[in-house]
């Protein structure tokens, strides 16, 4: 299953263009979507889930074009977990999933079996009789993930599923996504760089409605080699001066002053050494290289 986006543009009624002339191919496996707030990630996901129609350009899923006549077929192949979803607070986990399965047209017996299977995989079996309102944020997110998987989608879209979760729960969600990506395409949108490092090899970076990068994570990091530097300054004043001139991706107090990681095209005019590039550094380099 692959998704092809060609020259996609989305302009809202108020004249704001959220996505402009975007081209992208999303292959099988987990594909990361990274970008600052307001970059157009959620709009792209809403187009991919058929919630929003593009103003121009085409989107196709395994060659099937996104158009009115194909929507019913396309929707059957998609599972979606929106950024913020408040699942029926008065229903138990089991009831909520049965209800959503019923709405999506899954036969009752099949649905029950799938729910049992996915609750087991997401360690929610013991909580299935709890009301949705009694669950923690992480558990709710896991139930959300199960609802997205109920129709066994070939294309799973998850929008910032780890936002606001504690580290343990974030790792759990990430691992689940990795498990569920085995036989399907998963589009994983986030602005938490660590989540992508831990789960995917391929990613796209969005800024102001355009793709700044699409490809392997390794290549993105390679592009930043030679542009990330480590230096030490004795006091805060010097540090502030540096911050005004360069992009600083980390800052740490040490016994001798402050250790700073600087990202810039050329070697800074101070004593510094090249250092290892993380995805976060590469992302900052990419975002600022384009001005």
């Amino acid at each position: 299953m692959s998704i092809q986006i060609k020259d996609l543009t989305v302009t809202f009624k108020n004249g704001v263009t959220a996505i402009r002339h975007a081209d992208l191919e999303i292959p099988k496996g987990i594909f990361g979507l990274l970008g600052e707030n307001g970059a157009g990630k959620t709009t792209l996901m809403r187009v991919l889930t058929t919630v929003l129609s593009p103003t121009a350009g085409t989107v196709s899923l395994d060659g099937m074009l996104y158009q009115e006549g194909n929507y019913a077929k396309i929707r059957k192949k998609i599972g979606y977990l929106p950024q913020e979803i408040d699942l029926y607070p008065g229903l138990t986990v089991q009831e909520c999933l049965e209800y959503m399965g019923d709405l999506s047209g899954i036969p009752k017996e099949v649905c029950r079996k799938r729910i049992a299977g996915y609750l087991e995989k997401t360690s929610l079996t013991e909580h299935r009789k709890k009301k949705m309102r009694q669950l923690s944020g992480g558990m709710k997110r896991r139930v959300g993930l199960v609802q997205a998987l109920l129709n066994e989608p070939e294309f799973l879209i998850v929008d910032e599923p780890t936002t606001g979760l504690d580290p343990e729960e974030r790792i759990r969600i990430r691992n689940l996504l990795a498990d569920f990506s085995e036989k399907r395409t998963v589009l994983f949108s986030t602005h938490v760089v660590e989540d992508l490092v831990a789960t995917c090899n391929q990613l796209a970076v969005m800024k102001k409605g355009e793709f700044l990068y699409a490809g392997s994570m390794r290549n993105l990091m390679d592009e930043a080699i030679g542009h990330v530097w480590m230096c030490e300054v004795p006091d805060d004043e010097q540090a502030r001066k540096l911050e005004r001139t360069y992009h600083v991706s980390s800052k740490q107090y040490t016994e001798s002053g402050l250790r700073m990681k600087i990202i810039c095209k050329e070697k800074p005019e101070l004593t510094c050494t090249p250092c290892n590039v993380s995805l976060e550094d590469a992302y900052i380099y990419l975002m600022n290289r384009q001005g």
Binding site: T49, V51, Y80, I85, Y88
Partner: protein
């Protein structure tokens, strides 16, 4: 159906609706039994408008509608109709209980004086109130879906309510008024002209039900 009951009849809705009818029966004086239906009909219409305003828009507010977009339209419509049915059935029971409460609390004079007369008046009230509840619930739900907020449903209904539940409305629409039962000639028990107003309600309900799939497709 059990899940729909849990979704659209949360405790707070039951509490405020029961409270509304109970307080009404305490503070709104009626002298004769014929006044009970006349008093309850417009106020139950308001309650139905508030009660049903979030039937679907709760899906929008909670972002569940974004996932719901992936479900077949007929399943989504069926679930809305089930929710409406649950709410209307509840409101009907409440309307009937409200009639009883007025009898107990206000102890009005029996208008017909006979058991048969009083029961037939109650039967007429039930027939009228069923249509009233369905119409105002449906109108509120439709307006809410159209504007994607329950306040549009409640506000829109309030405007129509003020217009039709008034002397101006009565003069303007006559027997075709939405509140034809309230404005009927009570002295003439054979006067069935109020059915015309209820017919208008039913026709409008059918129109709104027919528009619903289109509204949902266009407004999410």
């Amino acid at each position: 159906m059990k899940k729909e009951i849990k979704i659209c009849l949360p405790l707070y809705k039951i509490v405020y609706s029961v409270f509304f009818v109970a307080v009404l029966s305490l503070i709104r004086g009626v002298g004769s039994t014929f006044e009970i239906g006349v008093t309850l009909e417009p106020l139950m219409a308001l309650l139905a408008a508030v009660f049903c305003a979030d039937t679907y828009v709760q899906e929008i507010a909670s972002k569940r509608s974004e996932v719901g977009q992936l479900y077949p339209m007929k399943n989504r419509l069926a679930s809305i109709l089930r929710r409406m049915a649950v709410q209307e059935a509840y409101l009907l029971v409440l309307a009937a209980a409200g009639y009883g409460l007025f009898l107990i609390v206000q102890k009005p004079i029996l208008f017909y004086g006979t058991r048969y007369g009083e029961w037939s008046m109650f039967g007429g009230y039930l027939a009228a109130i069923v249509v009233t509840l369905i119409f105002w619930g449906m109108l509120s739900h439709t307006l809410s879906c159209l504007f994607r907020t329950m306040w549009a449903g409640i506000g829109g209904c309030l405007i129509v309510w003020i217009l039709t539940n008034s002397t101006t409305g009565e003069q303007l629409f006559g027997k075709w008024n939405l509140f034809s039962y309230t404005f009927r000639t009570i002295e003439d028990s054979r006067d069935m002209d109020w059915l015309c107003g209820k017919l208008v309600c039913l026709v409008l309900c059918m129109v709104m039900a027919g528009m619903l799939p289109r509204i949902m497709r266009r407004r999410g």
